[in-house]
């Protein structure tokens, strides 16, 4: 059964429709890459999937026992975070805030899970460091650890490598692939079609032409796309 089934989804803001009639699904263990031109509506789609924006029409159904708030999220960095005084542990632990309900403090089990996630991301040495003083790649690892605290079933990544240098970018992609191999489904927004086709199992292309299918199907179609000049690489 699918973790997430999207049917007939139309997204956008108020009167301006960005993408119409999207249909796709994400299953356990999938690695879906969402590609498309700037302004095609990639970030809007992600916000809609997360429930931050209301869809204009259509439905997003979580399945297989996934709750609506069991979607981990790696956002693009915000302005506020640049001078935010917070330790790495504090940031990672905040991944549990949603699951706490009205309980005021973190449990011991949550603290252990957080430590495990920091170890998985290779940042346990940094746990007392100040988040804003870390490098871009380290910050992304911290935010990934936080997302894993929120859920281990489905992660949404919004341009996870933007602003990183090539070596760190490669490390980041490998890290994401390893998370995916351990059973977490991944939805990643990316500019980078090369990375999309080397790591993803499925591709959703939005823009003038909409495509959803496996990576192999996409590669077959891609030549067609290229002739039409729709794909920016």
């Amino acid at each position: 059964m699918s973790l997430l089934t999207v049917s007939g989804l139309t997204i956008g803001y108020e009167s301006s429709v960005l993408v119409q009639d999207l249909n796709f699904s994400v299953n356990k263990g999938d690695y879906l890459c969402i590609v498309g031109e700037n302004g095609a509506g990639k970030s809007t789609l992600m916000k809609t999937l997360l429930g931050l924006l209301k869809p204009i029409s259509g439905t997003i159904k979580p399945g297989d026992g996934l709750k609506r708030n069991e979607i981990g999220y790696l956002p693009q960095q915000t302005e506020v975070q640049r001078d935010f005084p917070a330790s790495v542990t504090e940031v990672v632990m905040s991944g549990f805030a949603g699951a706490m309900g009205l309980r005021p403090f973190y449990t011991r089990a949550e603290k252990e899970t957080a430590l495990k996630n920091m170890m998985r991301m290779g940042i346990e040495d940094l746990k007392h460091s100040c988040y804003r003083e870390l490098s871009g790649g380290q910050q992304q690892r911290v935010l990934l650890a936080r997302a894993l605290c929120a859920t281990s079933r489905l992660l949404l990544l919004d341009e996870p490598v933007s602003g990183l240098d090539p070596k760190v970018t490669e490390d980041m992609y490998r890290l994401i692939a390893s998370i995916n191999r351990s059973g977490t489904a991944i939805i990643m927004i990316s500019h980078d079609i090369h990375a999309a086709v080397s790591y993803a199992t499925h591709v959703l292309h939005i823009g003038d032409k909409v495509f959803f299918g496996t990576k192999e199907e996409y590669l077959k179609e891609e030549n067609g796309f290229m002739k039409g000049g729709h794909v920016s690489v």
Partner: protein, 277 residues
């Protein structure tokens, strides 16, 4: 000097003033960290001017308990201001500036048109800059202030982890099921309550100082949210105490003396921050 101070302490009014001063300093600095980080530094300013306007109305219509009018008006404004942050034709900072000066002008205007006492300038001045009114608190007001402060502290401690999550990353929190809008609303209400309480202490023009200075000072030195919060509370309480003592002994205005102490501490913290980091 010490004897003189102990002598003053024997008056209940002085003791009340110190209790209330410390409590207000504590509450305002607790929320200050969140407000500064959420880029709402100026909301204190805007709300305090709204409270001034409301107080002017309450004075003119001769309400005996002015709180009945001031508190609800300030809370409603706080909610509206935090709302505009999300989707509005007038952006957050402009909305705050607009409401702030608008309420100030309106308040002064109606106090002028319907004067209730012969010493209008004195009244206005003491509302704006705080007055010796902190030395004329009644026991009821002290009790009210104490209860509200305890409530604020309890709410803050219980919701601490969620406040952190929402402040650090509102979208992530919402996506993972934190009711961020509810927490923002709650914050708005608490801020409004603190502002109204603090008006007695430092006056409506200087309240922002109480909210932002301790947080900014603490942020120069510490690098985790918890340390910054604790440090800003400690600094704020020390400044309030020092300010109160100096103003009682030297006869300086209470509000401005406390704010001067806050500014001094900020300068010192900036130095320490620059030396260490």
């Amino acid at each position: 000097m010490f004897d003189k101070f102990m002598n003053y302490l024997s008056y209940p009014l002085v003791r009340y003033a110190i209790i209330v001063g410390v409590l207000i300093a504590l509450c305002s600095s607790l929320l200050g960290v969140t407000l500064v980080l959420k880029r709402y530094s100026f909301i204190g300013d805007g709300l305090s001017h709204v409270a001034f306007g409301a107080m002017a109305i309450a004075t003119v219509v001769k309400l005996t308990d002015k709180m009945i009018l001031i508190l609800p008006i300030t809370i409603i404004s706080a909610v509206l201001l935090l709302r505009t942050g999300q989707n509005a034709k007038i952006k957050g900072d402009a909305a705050v500036a607009m409401i702030s000066v608008g309420a100030l002008a309106f308040g002064y205007l109606i106090m002028n048109i319907f004067p209730t006492s012969s010493n209008l300038t004195g009244d206005v001045c003491s509302t704006l800059f705080g007055s010796m009114s902190i030395l004329t608190l009644t026991k009821g007001e002290v009790t009210l202030c104490a209860i509200l402060s305890v409530v604020v502290v309890i709410i803050f401690v219980v919701l601490y982890n969620k406040i952190f999550a929402v402040t650090f990353d509102e979208n992530f929190s919402k996506a993972t099921g934190v009711k961020a809008d509810a927490y923002n609303l709650l914050l708005a209400v608490i801020i409004a309550v603190i502002i109204v309480l603090a008006m007695n202490l430092v006056g409506s023009l200087l309240i922002s100082a109480l909210v932002i200075f301790p947080a900014l000072s603490a942020m120069r030195i510490y690098k985790s949210f918890k340390a910054v919060t604790v440090c800003s509370v400690v600094l704020s309480v020390i400044c309030a105490l020092a300010g109160l003592v100096v103003s009682i002994l030297a006869g300086t205005p209470v509000g401005s003396t406390i704010v001067a102490a806050d500014v001094l501490v900020f300068v010192i913290c900036s130095f320490i921050g620059a030396m260490v980091g």
